[in-house]
């Protein structure tokens, strides 16, 4: 994961704490439910760099505009507020229209692998391929990452109760 400024880390930790506080509040009001409850939090940060090239993240709010060429990092935090572990957790992120996936930007530390889709999630592949017409006929070649529409993380470990995992990826505003 790219270096994150102190401000960005603090913001992330603060958000996680708030997330679990809210999660436990749900438990306290609904009683014991013997099943996992996974909640997702999506955050968008504008990726910038200072004069020295150090990356800085600026949260994107609705009122703030983006411009073509801006790089946005999406942060997905999956928290398990249930009493049982969530297994086969597969978080899924979208690459919105008007943006293009930044190749290699998807985090991989909390997943066995990252898969991409070119068709909105109908089919998946670690390395999506497309068929193109060549002199000898149709040949298969790796798809341009900018053509990805969706990505997902295939989890390796169950998400235990009262724990969370973070998944990130970046897009560029076309």
């Amino acid at each position: 994961m790219p270096a994150v400024s102190f401000q960005g880390v603090a913001l992330q930790r603060l958000t996680t704490a708030f997330f679990f506080a809210a999660l436990f509040a749900v438990f306290s009001t609904t009683g014991a439910i013997a099943r996992p409850v996974v909640n997702l939090k999506l955050q968008a940060d504008l990726v910038t760099h200072d004069d020295k090239g150090v990356e800085k993240l600026v949260p994107v709010v609705d009122s703030a505009g983006l411009k073509p060429g801006d790089v946005v990092r999406y942060i997905i935090v999956a928290g398990n507020s249930g009493s049982d572990a969530a297994t086969h957790l597969v978080p899924q992120g979208k690459i919105p229209a008007g943006t293009a996936y930044e190749a290699g930007s998807a985090s991989t530390s909390d997943a066995l692998r990252v898969e991409f889709s070119l068709d909105g999630g109908k089919s998946w592949s670690v390395k999506p391929a497309v068929k193109v017409q060549a002199a000898g006929g149709l040949v298969e070649k790796l798809a341009d990452p900018s053509s990805f529409t969706t990505l997902r993380w295939i989890g390796a470990q169950p998400l235990l109760p009262k724990t969370s995992e973070t998944y990130t990826y970046q897009v560029r505003i076309k």
Partner: protein, 808 residues
Amino acid sequence: MIHAKKEGHFITRSLTRTLLRLVAIGVVVLSFVFAAHTRAASAAAETPPNTTITNTASATYTDANNVSYTTNSNTVTTTVQNAPSLSLAGTAPQNVSPGEVVTDNYTVTNTGNATGAITLNTPSITAGGTLDDAWILNGAATGACSVATPCPLATLNTQAALTSATVGTAITIGLQYTVATTTTPGTVISTTLTGTITQPAINASVPAETSPTATASDTDTVKADARLDLFKSAAAPTSPTGLITYTIDGNDGGGFGADAVLSAGRVLGLTTPGVIAVLDKLPVAAGTGITQPALFAAPAVPALPANDTGTVYYSTSTDGLSAWSTVFNTNATYIALFVTTSNASGIVFPSAPAGSSGGGVAQTSSQFVFTFQTTQPAGNGVSDPGALKNIANSIIGGNPGAGGTPIIAPGVAVDTDYETTSTPSYPASTFGPTASNTTPSSGTTPPGGASNLVSTAAFAQQSALNGPLDNAAATGSYNGVVGVSNQNDFTAVGFVCSNGPATTVVGATPAVACNWPTTTPVAIPNTVANNGNGADTYNIYANAPAGYTVQMFAVSACPTTTPTVLPIAPYATGCTIGAAISGVSASGGSVTTTAATTIAAGNTFNYVAEYAPAAGTTPLPFVPVAFDTIAYGSAATVTAGVPTVGTDANETYNVIYPGGPLQVTKSQTIVTNCSGTPAPTLATAVCPGGTITYSLTYRNVAPAALATGGSGLGTEPAFALNGIVASGATVLDDGTLGTTNWGTTTFGIDAVVAPVLNGGTATYSPTSTLSTGTYPAKTQGPTKISVALPGTIQPGISGTISFQVTVI
């Protein structure tokens, strides 16, 4: 625009030129359009402003019972803003020329994410050019902001293409400036253009925004207009019959190719446009009596650049303005190489290859080499360096800086309406000077179109003549024996012995001397003539016979003599002797002038040779002493200081007759003797009453052959016999003078046998009555006779005066 000042034809030419450039530009434009479309495609994918981008994450998972669940995140939303961006690019560097109106083309492209308004700022330009504030939009030929009517920047910025520039659309902006006519070739002129684009506001969330300033520069290099660099050379002949070869190397030394222009043809009386016309006035040797060189043969048409055709023209006019013809004429006064082309592009004479460094500079690589040959001129001075001088002149077309005006050598005739096609014929009256420009071109500086000045000369044929004053070419035989030639010509002089009239006593021992003059030198003027075809330096070698010395002096103010003018004074008057020009020779030795004298062809130089006897020398009366001098030029062979007579070493003789020239010899004849027995020998003695005839034979001792009309005279003039021709001579016999006693031992000059006077007039004394009567009764007659001889006594001519006396 400068072009607007030209006549219609030029406007057409200029417009054509500009449009041609636009064609080239068009290629660039098209490529940009293509690129722009590519960008436009990506720009179309670029997210327009006010676009909302939303994102929601999701996840699936299962519980211990393998029940599947799906969950979604919150939704993140943002709005795309205006992102104006302007791309500004110059075009490839181009070559421009002084005075040219140049269009620098820039490509402006909206590279933002929405349509915007482009604003171009006032550009800047580096030294050498001046902005015209004339702009062309998208290379349009006509209309607002077009090639025909460029617009100011303020107007350009209001054009729809700029105020509503759509994303990805390339716009071509032509920025015009004028290159100063004084800008030196090699100068780099850069224009710099800046601009911004503003995308309008869409709503409160998406305000208007202006791009950063885009900047681009266009760099042009100033090069000289098409310029014909001519380098002319001449190879002098190596023999008297050799030819002079002239070679003209030509290059377009400018930065541009040359167009065909009417002027190049019009100067030859043609209506055919030509790329170049090289004119050369055939060299003429200055001076009178010169046989001028003639064109030897029709020269070959030189190899020319592809698609060019050369034709050689000849003119016999005096000024090169008319009478041009393709027919070879050996008497041509002008020759020209006219080059036309079949190249459709019009640019037919490419700019010079490397090495063309300017008119009058030898080229390492020529685009054509034109050679022609002439015969040698003949006459005085034609072999002098620079005797033949000339410059090749030219016209070359195609000069962007001057709107197509040809470069014309300064001396070449200029037609003020040189490109008017309607002129039906060659209007010589509208042309200026002839093609005889004499100002050479040097390096890259003006005058363009002219070659260097080349000089050459005929083969040097040096020749010296040396002879009597003002008659260096005289021929003769100085002693009447040697053959007549201009090596044996002579000047003969006599002088009055300083010890009295020359006397010869037969058998006298020692010989009677004729003392050398003591008050005036015996100095004989001679003349050296340069009979060659060029200036030369001359020395004079003087020789003295045994017992005599010689020294040479400068001389001035000598009279002009011709064969009809009789003798000048040999040494006393007539010339003014100046400083010595040689030392004094040893007795019987020789001496040479201490410094050479330069004499122009056909000119002469006078000098005198002064002679004197060495100590111990006794000049004998009437015994000629012959001296000689040899004048020689640079081509003469000189061995050990002695020149070998020949073409460039000519000899003349100065013959001195001491006591001469008139020698009188007296003889006697005993006509009758006494009657005594035995009678005296008649030949040796005489008795009283015997008669004696005295004969006074006078003779000009110079060889008879030298007399006027004499056999073997050659051209030697009689006047060369300075003091030799006896005029007004008087023969005197005084019977009482000195040891002569016939005046006292005879009855004087007898009338019985009248004196023979040979046409002279006799004067007698002390009485004019001749002796009469019969011995011994005779009267006393004159004891002295003086006979004035009539006319002149030419060399070799003699006569006798005789009279008879009777012994008392």
